[in-house]
Symmetry: C2
Subunit: 674 residues, 2 copies
């Protein structure tokens, strides 16, 4: 039997489990009217955003599909559409469940922490399993239809990537505009607590957690997951290794094993039922990882009669885990860096910012070194000294290894915002302190898992981009990417600049959107003086609309640029220049991504550390300085930083899809001068 059928079955199985989990969540009845009302607002806001977003995405998908159909192949265009639609579906399913799970988590927290964890994690698991289920099923079905023709299949990756960029950038802007707006006027100016129902931006803020941290993160890892597999298949097709077709089968098989392991890991978390959510989640994650590794070892021996490919897979897993751990060290208040930022906040916001930026920059060292070690190990263990393509295949395998258990990674990650939402609903429904305590505990674990997830997303994006980059050189028939070639050099500098351009666009977007939100919240407080004493209701919808409009408005330019820049550079200056663009973009993009994510996380936790009573505690001058750092850190860690992950993958996969055209017709400007 064709192994692709197995992959389809595994994908369907994952979706089935997701469906069962969804049913288990939906069957819980929420009786509290206020809770239903609040969660209704959140759901409505989230759906409104998705609806608007999909309208724009539909137009985008149609245009790009036509371009691909004309210039590449209609089949590639079809794959592109499927990839885009599947990414949208994963996000849609995941989010519709997340906005149902949040209020049910609140209700669970009224019983005990086990019940709350169960619901929240089930919600996250739906997202995780939809991502991997739709990812592998889509790839495998298209693989069966097109006999795994890489020129077509890469379209699937491009579709996933495009949607991911819009989802991440749009979601990131949405969530941070709402967050910053709610905080600046509500917490700082009006002095009302977080998640207070009197804050007009509070619903938008909670919607933001869903569209940014659930749907955005899901789309990000959806594309990393399929991107890694595609690059490994691309390289596997030309590599001579093991039995016939073994190199093509292996990546998809590892991914399938990873999905099964993830499902088992998820079951472990659900069965465990400890009072320590961190421990439960860790046990589940480690179980999944261990199972996947065992499976990979067996498979490697069977298919290749050597453990070498297994070694590459394991190196990816280990690098991923270590990057996650390092992220925790730099962003958790349990370690010295966050404490240092808190300490420096005593001399004001200036030194808080300097200190945070310094920590963020420093935090790039170890992840980069680890990625490098991973590259060298996976390259040489699989490829040896002689064969470049085989070595690059090794790098792709390590990306696949890192991402194989994406199912549970996303589950753990998406659980965080659900718990966060649950806390918000508890606050807004005036539930007893004990409920909020439980959701806070879940939320705080969620913050750690989110930070680790971010590190993981960056690490996997880097490896995936490099693997796709290798596939591109193969597809464009480049024998070398020579930095002594002036075109490559120029491309390289332009490419290195692109992430800075992105950082600027996305930071500015958040700044502008937040300013609009601030003005709206101020207006409402002024025009409706009775909001503060609870006699008048704030206009939540207006704030939701502002976030939605800003997110859509500001996601368009970055989205288009990511696709146009590689095409323009390739068509005008040729494949060598384009290769330079990708290399430069990956280089500076990965570094900025790590820097921004970790600086943002560290500022956030430094503020929380001060709020716990250190260096003066809440309300002190030190705390004010901490709030400034957190405000800067918000777009860093949730908008600009994560959008870099997608940027580097999207630019690479655009190049990969259009490689044949660029190889043939690229370099228009250069040819004129010849």
């Amino acid at each position: 039997m064709n192994y692709l059928y197995v992959a389809v079955i595994v994908g369907i199985a994952a979706l089935l489990v997701a469906f069962l989990l969804r049913a288990s969540i939906l069957k819980i009845q929420v009786k509290n009217k206020r809770m239903n009302e609040i969660s209704g607002y959140i759901e409505e806001g989230a759906m409104a955003f998705l609806k608007t977003e999909y309208k724009y995405l539909a137009g985008f998908i149609v245009i790009v599909a036509i371009v691909i159909a004309i210039f590449i192949h209609p089949q590639t265009a079809l794959c592109f559409v499927v990839g885009a639609v599947f990414s949208i579906l994963a996000g849609f399913f995941g989010m519709t469940v997340a906005v149902k799970a949040n209020v049910r988590t609140t209700q669970g927290a009224q019983k005990d922490i086990k019940e709350a964890l169960k619901v929240a994690f089930s919600g996250g698991s739906v997202m995780g399993l939809c991502v991997v289920g739709l990812g592998i099923a889509g790839l495998a079905i298209l693989g069966l239809i097109f006999d795994l023709n890489i020129e077509y299949i890469t379209g699937f990756g491009l579709g996933a990537s495009s949607i991911a960029l819009f989802a991440r950038v749009g979601g990131g802007i949405y969530t941070k505009a709402a967050d910053v707006g709610a905080d600046l006027v509500g917490k700082v100016e009006a002095g009302i607590p977080e998640d207070d129902p009197r804050n007009p931006a509070v619903i938008a803020d909670n919607v933001g957690d869903n569209v940014g941290d659930v749907a955005g993160m899901g789309a990000d890892l959806f594309e990393s997951f399929v991107g890694a597999i595609i690059s490994a298949i691309t390289l596997g097709a030309v590599v001579k290794l093991g039995t016939d077709k073994a190199a093509s089968i292996f990546p998809m098989a590892i991914a399938s094993i990873g999905i099964i392991s993830s499902i088992l890991g998820i079951l472990v978390v659900k069965v465990l039922k400890t009072n320590d959510p961190q421990k439960s989640l860790n046990t589940g994650t480690y179980t999944a990882g261990a199972l996947m590794i065992i499976g990979a070892a067996v498979l490697s021996k069977v298919l290749f009669d050597t453990f070498a490919p297994f070694g590459a897979v394991v190196s990816g897993v280990i690098v991923g885990l270590l990057i996650g751990k390092i992220t925790e060290i730099y962003t958790s208040a349990n370690y010295k860096f966050v404490k240092e930022i808190a300490k420096e906040s005593q001399t004001g916001a200036g030194t808080n910012i300097i200190s945070g930026l310094s920590v963020g920059m420093k935090s790039t060292i170890l992840p980069i070194v680890l990625i490098c070690i991973g590259i060298l190990i996976s390259y040489y263990i699989v490829g040896g000294e002689a064969n470049v393509t085989t070595g690059l295949y090794g790098i792709a395998l390590s990306a696949v290894g890192m991402l194989a258990t994406t199912g549970i990674t996303v589950a753990v990650d998406a659980y965080g915002p659900i718990a966060d939402n649950a806390g918000g609903i508890a606050e807004m429904s005036n539930l007893p302190e004990s409920v909020r305590d439980i959701t806070d505990k879940l939320d705080s674990v969620g913050n750690t898992t989110a930070a680790i997830g971010k590190g993981f997303a960056i690490g996997s994006a880097a490896l995936t981009a490099l693997a796709l980059f290798a596939s591109f050189t193969e597809a464009a028939s480049l024998k070398a990417i020579d930095l002594m070639n002036p075109l490559t050099l120029v491309g390289f500098l332009i490419g290195a600049m692109v992430p800075f351009l992105y950082g600027s666009l996305t930071m500015k977007a958040v700044g502008k959107a937040a300013t609009e939100m601030v003005q709206e919240v101020r207006r409402q407080f002024k025009e409706r003086p009775h909001i503060m004493d609870g006699k008048e209701k704030p206009d939540y919808k207006k704030c939701v609309d502002i976030s939605t409009a800003s997110a859509i408005h500001y996601m368009i330019l970055p989205g288009i640029l990511a696709i146009v820049i590689p095409l323009v550079m390739g068509m005008f200056f040729g494949a060598q220049a384009l290769a330079g663009v990708i290399a430069g973009c990956v280089g500076s993009g990965v570094l900025l991504a790590i820097m921004m994510a970790n600086a943002g996380g560290a500022w956030d936790n430094a503020k929380k550390y001060i709020e716990e009573g250190n260096y003066g505690g809440k309300g002190s001058e030190t705390h004010k300085a901490g709030v400034v750092g957190d405000t800067v850190g918000d777009p860093f860690k949730d908008t600009s930083g994560p959008s870099m992950n997608i940027l580097i993958k999207l630019m690479t996969i655009v190049s990969l899809v259009f490689a044949p055209v660029i190889a043939q017709y690229g370099g228009i400007i250069i040819n004129i001068f010849k």
Copy 2:
């Protein structure tokens, strides 16, 4: 006659003019006792720093010279020592005159603005002419002794680079620790004005202008100047172009013409005597540029019988000018970006920082595009399609062109801190408001020229580094730098990370040093309560000592790393990996340098724009937010940003000098696994 003799004579002529200018400054007698006292403190502090710095540098020079003598050639070691000593001499001469010119500028300002400008610009010119005079004379003399043997001569560049790094990093930390310390306690906490003699850190602050902005900037451009020439000579030696040896002669000849043009430009400024300092300085700079370009055209035609090399030179000049102009657009309050930051400051320090970072990131686009255009033009105009080395020679020529008029560039640049110091002395000596008005006017012109100079320093550093990079590939006999080679790829990622590491180290150093300074100033105010009513003198020396100690302490690690990282990567992973390191470092280094310099400049001027009465003016909440941006911007623009310039050049020239050893013995770790 050997053309090198001409270069020696030109160099000596420049030094002679510098000597005459120095004499003209020194013959001015300062009668005001208080002014002499204050300037005496500044001079003493500056000399104390230099003395301590030189003690450490001496040890460093001896050790590195021994290493070079053993592993490369004793002759290279000799050139290294000469390069280091000449760089030190240029800084020493320039600074000893600057600390005499400041007080005489104050005295000149008691007469009128023309007189003040004359003295301040003469002071700056001494620095500028010492830089180019010692640079070209040193190179030419060693060229005569060693028959222009490149393996030896590169040692001169390494010496210049090493000293430059220590001077920039040390000077940058010194000046910003003092500045931030003086501002935070003096201006913000105690509410006394800038340059108030009651502020214990005020002398350290003024010393900082000299060691950072005069000596540091001078050392930076000294190394760019000689680095560009060295790389052009290196490539010129292997290029077949024009008459015999024409390609070797051309760079040095262009530099000589540039020096003569600079001298004439300086005379123009001195003769013009307008009331508009900006106009005087511009006229001088443009005159020098025009003269150099005419000379280059003639020389190109004579030596090569074509204007192609001239084209490369001109492209460098134009790119340099445009980058300067762009820097001004992003950092001057006359344009929208700075106003935008000021506007966003209304919603607090958080949005001020977000806005500034966004502007800084965006400001990278045009300079990078310009550098790319410069690369393509100079490569193809000289090298055509066929010959790589000849094309790279074209890039080196455009760097030489950009730097040929370094003499007047540094003069214009170094004039700024002298005027700044003059204002400080006026304030501390209680001179009438009218004097301060004149020095303020000079100072404000100086801020613009400083911003332009910074842009220019970055642009020239980028081109010089690329040119040196090309020389390195030649010296290491690399036929290609292939990013598909895993070692190159890994080197590339590590290299891209190094500027982030540098940013972290230098930002942190300023943060720590500033904190120490803040504590000392607070202590003095507390223990000597009569400082505030003027009955007690503050202990200036203590603050000077803190700045000196911090600067020395924190410059060592970055200095050593810049030399050790390329050596370690080269020896462990081989020349291909090292090439990747340099490429990555140049890529992310140039971008961070532009981003940090411009964000810093923009924050600074946004604060000043608010102080002029916009958005609430001085003392408003908006102003407080602006001060936070300025505090972050200080290490950005004066420590971390500029140190990137040197870092990329130093790492490249270390690689160039050690290329033979690395090509032969490099790759130890890789060889073990083979």
